[in-house]
Structure formats: structure tokens, C-alpha cells
Amino acid sequence: MRGPGPTGRAIAKVTLIALALGMIAALSMGVSDSGTRFNDLGNKLMCTCGCGQVLLQCNHLGCPALARETAELHADIAAGMSNNAILIAFQNEYGPTVLAAPMLTKFNMIAWIVPPLLLGLGILGTVLLVRRWRQRAAAMPPVQQSAEIRALRDQVRRETEL
């Protein structure tokens, strides 16, 4: 096989970096916007009626918890509180289970870090493993292949391709 030249390698690197940055951006970006704050925050809080659903997804008819919490949320937004302050206020009032996802604090940080970390380590480990296999294969003496064998191997490859 003819490998990529320096330009090709550079393109591959840039693509990989762009992908990684895209994923990091997707995981970490986002600042508050007053226009959609109610919907955003309402989807970050749980209904406390025991239905186990996100606040704005509670489908209980006449749910008292839904009415109370949404009223509080409206009031907090109107009072000019920041998103973080509102979430903390809810947490203090109803306990940590009122938040639909754990905040980035102390132990809860693990919840967010572990999956992408393991995926990253998995990818890294796989890349290293394949490189090791390649190096081992390269260390073995090349098999002398006649044109006939090469043609046969090509035929086998074509016929067995998925």
C-alpha cells in the first residue's frame, strides 16, 4: 500500500483535530440566553411529584408540583437570578434529585468525565494496539509472491468482500 504523503498526513491530522474540537465544543459550550431560559431551565429540573419526569415533560393532569415549580421558576427568572443560582436555589429547596443532571461539582464531576474519558482511552488504546500489530507484521520477512499468487489473493479478496 502507498501511504499518504506529508500533505495527506497533515489533512488527516487537521480533520482529526477538527473532529475532536467539535466534540469538545458540543460537550462544553453554551451560555445563557434570556429568551429561552424558561424552557432551558425547565428541562434541567425534575418534577417533584414522584413521576420521575423532567419538569416540562410531566404529563400528570393537574400536577401540583408542576404548577408550583414552574411558578417558582418564572419568579426566579423575573427576579434576575442567573441560571446557576436558580438551579442551586431549587437544589437547596428540593434536594439534589430535583436537578435532571448532576451539576459539575466534586464527585458529580465523575459522572460527566468518565464516559468521554473511557472512549478517548479506548480509541488511544486501539490505535496503539493496531500500530503494534503493524510493527510486528513489518518485522516479519516479506512473503515472496508470484504474480499468480497475487492474482489469486486478489480474487479471494474480491469474492470474500462483504
Partner: protein, 687 residues
């Protein structure tokens, strides 16, 4: 009938225990060359027949429970709690799986049914099937032990028998609930078969990869059932729960997703073993994990380990499942350690840029997705254990962590078919990627022109637009990659045969149904993801409506034409009659309602949905203002939802196609009528 049912369950337990023990002894004797009073082959045959008998006995028990439901036998506690006289017939049938004990009976019956098919078709490979049958017998013993001693479906009511039952949970009184649980269970239970074959093949050091060929259809059919079960559940949630969504990342939903993810990984990586003798240990552990995750999912649903909207009540059977899970894991680990030298790969991956690598990364990402779901589901328990605080891990967590992983998987789906086996040259990559990349770029521009602003992620807390943008671009990449694969092959056929391009595509697909069926499945997945991406642009409004008052949402005007109430023996109803206008024209009439079921004393929202390819107008009757008596209506405008169900249909079609034998194989297998003269000549020759 309850006595008959209980007896049938006891008999089934005895028969399955015999299948396990006699089968185990016979296989041990065959492996070691030992002989008892009965020849091991005959002993194995009796075990096989006992396995078939288990199916008959379990069927009798299931029949007895359904009979009790239809005859309103409220002396049976299960029927008392899950049925009532006014319940329509199909839901009485569905009562079989609407509670803990009944659904476990369904598990056991489906397992017995799978075992029945496997044992009847034992001539495919007698010895391997004997191993698989014995292992299935072991699993069956566990479920029948549960049914006989821990979750008895035929327990009788103490004291006086009530005149009527408490009724079925209203949420389950919906047509899809008659089919969704059996589908899901067919998927869960079905993974026991490839698991049994894999474990059996490992135990007997089965030579070659034939066991994979034998189990391929089992695995695909099982995967298809699980896929259908999951999406039927989504459709049910969308149609019944009335919150405007279809997936809430609930622990029970997650429990069904985890084996689906590992099962999908297995379906991909097993091709590497078939074609190149690679990833043998990986595949064995993938199928082991898939089965264990199916059991774990059942444990999650039934033990009360995690709180969930639709888990069964907390019960002590969780401990039984834990013990079973530990035993299964120990058996798998022990067998693997003993036989691991049998799983040495015949080849290694030669290049990072190859089809093999793409399969490997695809597996890695699927497993990462599975781990993320498992991690999110169990983190509340971990948090409570470590810091003493239970936290909630719901949609916002998965949207941030799992969605990017899913998009990465979509990216791999796009590039996989464009890479060659063993290694790809840079030139071929450049050649294969140019068109798909251009398609992705053009799609990106069009999507931005249509008003999707991916940069919103930098200015708001919404990631939806960004994810949707990436999903559309990657979708275009996948579709172009898949399309170019079809086109390339079809052009060759067209050139050689003179057929038109469409006929060539059909012939190409029939020549390698698995490959091209797989591509169609990938296309279906893209369509589903496009449907999912619409969620980023959902709109909602809620308003109390007086007569002829209206709500405006998107292009629609929803006007209240009237509101009233109704009653029947099963439930009372309140409803609103709504006229929907678009551009001043009446488009449809909608009647969202709220039911109150008499037997269970529970309310239910009945959604009214006007579905189009562009969006769903989804309306629920949220309640009634007690002061004015006027209805409160919640309206959702959910874009692209219809494409999810269309995508699922494409996935089902693609999987069905992949199950059809290839054209050449079918031709070889078909009988050719030999002329009578030729037969006579052959007969003379033989003489």
C-alpha cells in the same frame, strides 16, 4: 384452571431440569469418552425431547393464565390485579404481560419457544445444538424456579373473591401495548440463543466459524425484534404518555437500549470473524455481555434498584436475578479462561485506515455508548453509596454525553463502506471521499440557509441546533457513501449485462443481500436520526380555550369548536373538539381527551396527533379549569417525527433483506427438474 397452570409450571420445571442435567451428563460423557448405563447419545436425545416437553408445559401454563383472564377468574390474584370484567378482549390477552408474574411467564414461554425451534432443527449440527439446548435448559430452569417459588402467577386470593378486578393500568390500554412487550421480550429472550451457541461452541472447542453461520439468522431476527420492540415502545410513549416526546432516558428504556447496542456491535464485529478469523474473544464477550445486559435490564425493571416511570413494583426477585447474573458471569469467565487458546485470531489488523479498523472503532463507539447509558443509569446509586446523596441523571446528561458519541458513530457509518479491507491507499480514500464530502458540505450550506444556526451553541444553552446541523451533514455523508456503493456495483452489472441501472441495483442487492441489506439498514438509521434531530426545533404552547378561541403555533391555528364529556362501562371521558386551520383552510379536526378509568381509578391522557412529513401537530387535553369549566389544551409542534417511523420501516426492510439468501445460493439450493428421459438414461447406466 389455576391448579392446572401451577401443575404445568411444575412439570415444565422438572422437564427443564432434566434437560439441563441429562444433557450435561451426556455431553460430559461424550467429551470424556465415559459411558453410563444409557448411551450418552440416547441420554442427550431424551434431554432434547424433555426440552420440547418444556415448551408444551410452559405453553399450557400461559394458556391457563390467559384463560383465567378471559373467564374473569378473580380468585387468581394476578388476574384480580390486572384485569376487570369491562376490559376489552385484546387487553385481557395483554394482561399476560402487564404484571410482574405474567411477564416472567411470557419470558419463560418465549424462551421455551425459542428452545423448541432450536431443538426441532437440531440436525443443523447435532452436537453443537445439544450444547446450546443444555445451556438454554439452564436458563429455563432459572425462570421456572422464579415462577414456581418467587413470582407465582397462579397465587390465589385469600378470603372472599371480589366480584370484579382492579383493572389494567390505563397506560397499558393502547393497541401497541398488545404488541410492544412481546416484541421487546422476543428480542431480550432471543439473545439467549446466540449466547447458548457461543458458550456451547466455546465449551466444545468448536472448530471454525460455522457456529456463527448457524446463529447469524437467530441474532439478526432477535436484533430485529428488539429494534421493533424499542421503537414500538417509543411510539407508545409518544402516543400515550402525552408529554410530546418519545424517549425520556428512563432507566427502563435504557435497559432495553443497552443489549441493543452490544447486539449491534456483535452483528458488525462477527463479520470480521467470519471473513478474516479476527476478534474471536471480542465476539464471544460481546454476545455474553449482550445476554447479561438483557438479564440486567430485566433485573433493573423488576428489582426497584432504580426508580423509573414504568418499572414494576419493588420486589425480592431482584436477589434471584443478581444470583443468576453472577452464576452466568462465572460460567462465562470460567469457560473463557479454560478455552481461551481456542480463540486465537488468525489475522491481525494491518492498517488503521482499513475496513477492519472501521469495524473495530464502530464496536468501540457502540460499547462506549452502552457504557454511557449504563453509567448514567447506575450513577445515582453510586452517588448515594459514595457521598450519601442520590442524584438524578436524566435527559440533559445523555444529550450532552451520549449524543456526540452517537454522531461519532454516524461518522464511522459513513466512512466504513468507503474503506478497503486490509488497508486503503490515500489515493483511494481521496477518490472515494470527494463526492460524499461535497454532499455533506452542500447539505450544511442548505441547512444553514433553511435557518438552522449551529453557532447557537456559542450563544445559548441550546446544543440542539448544533447537533441537528452535524447530524444532517453526516447523514448526507452516509447516504452518499451508501449510494455510491450501490451505484458502483450496479454500473459494473449494467455494463456486463446491458440491464438498466435499476434492474442492476436489484440484481446487485440479490447477489449479496447481507451487504446491501446492511446498507439499507444504515440508510434507515440516517432517516431515524434526521427524525430525532427535529426535536431541536420543537415548539409548545398551553392555553385555556373558550368556545371559538384559538392558539397559534407554527403555521397552524387551533380553534376550539366545543368541549364535552362521555361515559362507557370502562371509563369516563372529557374531551375538546378542535378545528385546525392552515393558511385559512380547515386542515383537520382533532379531539384530544382525558379518560378516567373506573376499575383502577386512574386518569389517562389520549393524545390527538396530526402527522405530516414536515411536523406533527400534537395536542393533549391538559385538564379543565374548575372555575370556568373550559378545557386547557397543550399544543406541540414536533418537526420531522414521522421520519423516525419511516426510518424504522426502512431498517426492518433492510434487515429482512439481509436475511434472504443470496441469489447464487438460492439458485444452487433450488431443485432443477430433470427430464424423464435423462432419468431413464441414468437408471440404465446404473444397471
Amino acid at each position: 384452571m389455576p391448579t392446572f397452570g401451577s401443575f404445568a409450571l411444575l412439570l415444565a420445571l422438572a422437564l427443564s431440569a432434566y434437560t439441563l442435567l441429562a444433557g450435561g451428563v451426556a455431553l460430559r460423557q461424550i467429551a470424556t469418552g465415559g459411558r453410563g448405563r444409557v448411551a450418552p447419545e440416547r441420554l442427550a436425545e431424551t434431554a432434547r425431547r424433555a426440552g420440547i416437553g418444556t415448551f408444551i408445559a410452559t405453553s399450557a401454563a400461559a394458556f391457563a393464565l390467559v384463560w383465567c383472564a378471559f373467564t374473569n377468574d378473580f380468585s387468581v390474584a394476578y388476574i384480580l390485579h390486572h384485569s376487570n370484567r369491562a376490559l376489552p378482549g385484546p387487553y385481557k390477552f395483554a394482561a399476560l404481560w402487564s404484571g410482574q408474574e405474567g411477564s416472567l411467564l411470557l419470558w419463560a414461554w418465549l424462551l421455551a419457544a425459542y428452545g423448541f425451534v432450536l431443538r426441532v432443527r437440531h440436525k443443523v449440527d447435532v452436537k453443537l445444538t445439544a450444547y446450546a439446548s443444555t445451556i438454554l435448559g439452564g436458563i429455563q430452569v432459572f425462570f421456572l424456579l422464579l415462577l414456581n417459588f418467587a413470582a407465582m402467577p397462579f397465587s390465589l386470593v385469600r378470603g372472599a373473591v371480589p366480584a370484579d378486578g382492579f383493572g389494567l393500568n390505563p397506560l397499558l390500554q393502547y393497541p401497541e401495548m398488545v404488541i410492544h412487550p412481546p416484541m421487546l421480550y422476543l428480542g431480550y429472550v432471543g439473545f439467549a440463543v446466540p449466547f447458548a451457541f457461543a458458550l456451547g461452541a466455546l465449551m466444545m472447542r468448536y472448530p471454525g466459524e460455522k457456529w456463527i453461520h448457524i446463529t447469524r439468522r437467530w441474532t439478526m431476527v432477535t436484533w430485529l425484534f428488539l429494534t421493533c420492540g424499542i421503537f414500538l415502545g417509543m411510539h407508545w410513549a409518544y402516543s400515550v404518555l402525552g408529554w410530546g416526546g418519545y424517549w425520556g432516558w428512563d432507566p427502563v428504556e435504557n435497559a432495553s437500549l443497552m443489549p441493543w447496542l452490544t447486539g449491534t456491535a456483535f452483528l458488525h464485529s462477527v463479520m470480521m470473524q467470519e471473513k478474516r478469523g479476527m476478534m474471536k474473544s471480542w465476539n464471544v464477550w460481546l454476545i455474553f455481555s449482550t445476554f447479561m445486559l438483557a438479564i440486567f435490564g430485566t433485573l433493573l425493571t423488576r428489582s426497584g434498584l432504580v426508580s423509573s416511570v414504568h418499572a414494576f413494583a419493588q420486589s425480592p426477585i431482584g436477589n434471584w436475578f443478581w444470583v443468576f447474573l453472577v452464576i452466568v458471569f462465572a460460567v462465562c469467565l470460567f469457560t473463557y479462561i479454560l478455552q481461551r487458546d481456542h480463540l486465537k485470531a488468525e489475522n491481525k489488523i494491518e492498517s488503521l485506515v482499513s475496513r477492519e479498523s472501521s469495524f473495530l472503532f464502530n464496536n468501540l463507539v457502540l460499547l462506549a455508548a452502552c457504557f454511557t447509558v449504563l453509567w448514567g443509569t447506575l450513577f445515582p446509586i453510586l452517588s448515594e453509596y459514595v457521598v450519601g446523596n442520590k442524584v438524578t441523571v436524566s435527559a440533559p446528561f445523555y444529550n450532552r454525553v451520549a449524543v456526540p458519541i452517537g454522531l461519532f458513530l454516524l461518522f464511522l457509518t459513513a466512512i466504513g463502506p468507503l474503506l478497503a479491507w486490509r488497508s486503503s491507499s490515500f489515493r483511494s480514500i481521496r477518490k472515494n471521499f470527494v463526492v460524499p464530502l461535497i454532499a455533506a458540505a452542500v447539505t450544511g450550506v442548505v441547512v444553514i440557509a433553511c435557518g438552522v444556526h449551529p453557532w447557537d451553541i456559542f450563544t445559548t444553552t441550546h446544543q440542539g441546533s448544533f447537533y441537528a446541523f452535524v447530524a444532517y451533514c453526516l447523514g448526507a455523508l452516509v447516504v452518499t457513501a451508501v449510494g455510491s456503493e450501490f451505484l458502483r456495483g450496479a454500473k459494473v452489472i449494467s455494463r456486463n449485462t446491458g440491464k438498466n441501472l435499476l434492474a442492476s441495483v436489484v440484481q446487485l442487492t440479490r447477489r449479496n443481500t447481507r451487504r446491501y441489506g446492511g446498507y439499507i439498514v444504515h440508510f434507515g438509521v440516517v432517516v431515524i436520526i434526521i427524525g430525532f434531530s427535529g426535536q431541536a426545533f420543537n415548539q409548545t404552547q398551553e392555553q385555556e380555550l373558550a368556545l371559538h378561541q384559538s392558539i397559534h403555533i407554527g403555521p397552524y391555528k387551533v380553534e376550539c369548536e366545543g368541549y364535552s364529556q362521555d361515559t362507557n362501562p370502562n371509563y369516563d371521558t372529557e374531551y375538546a373538539l378542535l378545528n385546525v386551520y392552515k393558511d385559512g383552510q380547515l386542515v383537520t379536526k382533532m379531539a384530544p381527551e382525558r379518560r378516567f378509568y373506573n376499575a383502577s381509578q386512574q386518569p389517562l391522557t389520549v393524545v390527538s396527533n396530526h402527522s405530516t412529513p414536515a411536523w406533527d401537530l400534537y395536542v393533549i387535553y391538559a385538564g379543565k379549569n374548575p372555575d370556568t369549566g373550559q378545557p386547557i389544551v397543550r399544543v406541540f409542534l414536533n418537526p420531522l417525527v414521522m421520519w423516525i417511523w419511516i426510518g424504522v420501516a426502512i431498517v426492518v426492510f433492510g434487515t429482512g433483506l439481509a436475511l434472504v439468501p443470496n441469489l447464487s445460493a438460492a439458485l444452487a439450493a433450488s431443485r432443477v427438474r430433470v427430464p424423464a428421459q435423462a432419468v431413464a438414461l441414468t437408471a440404465q447406466g446404473d444397471d
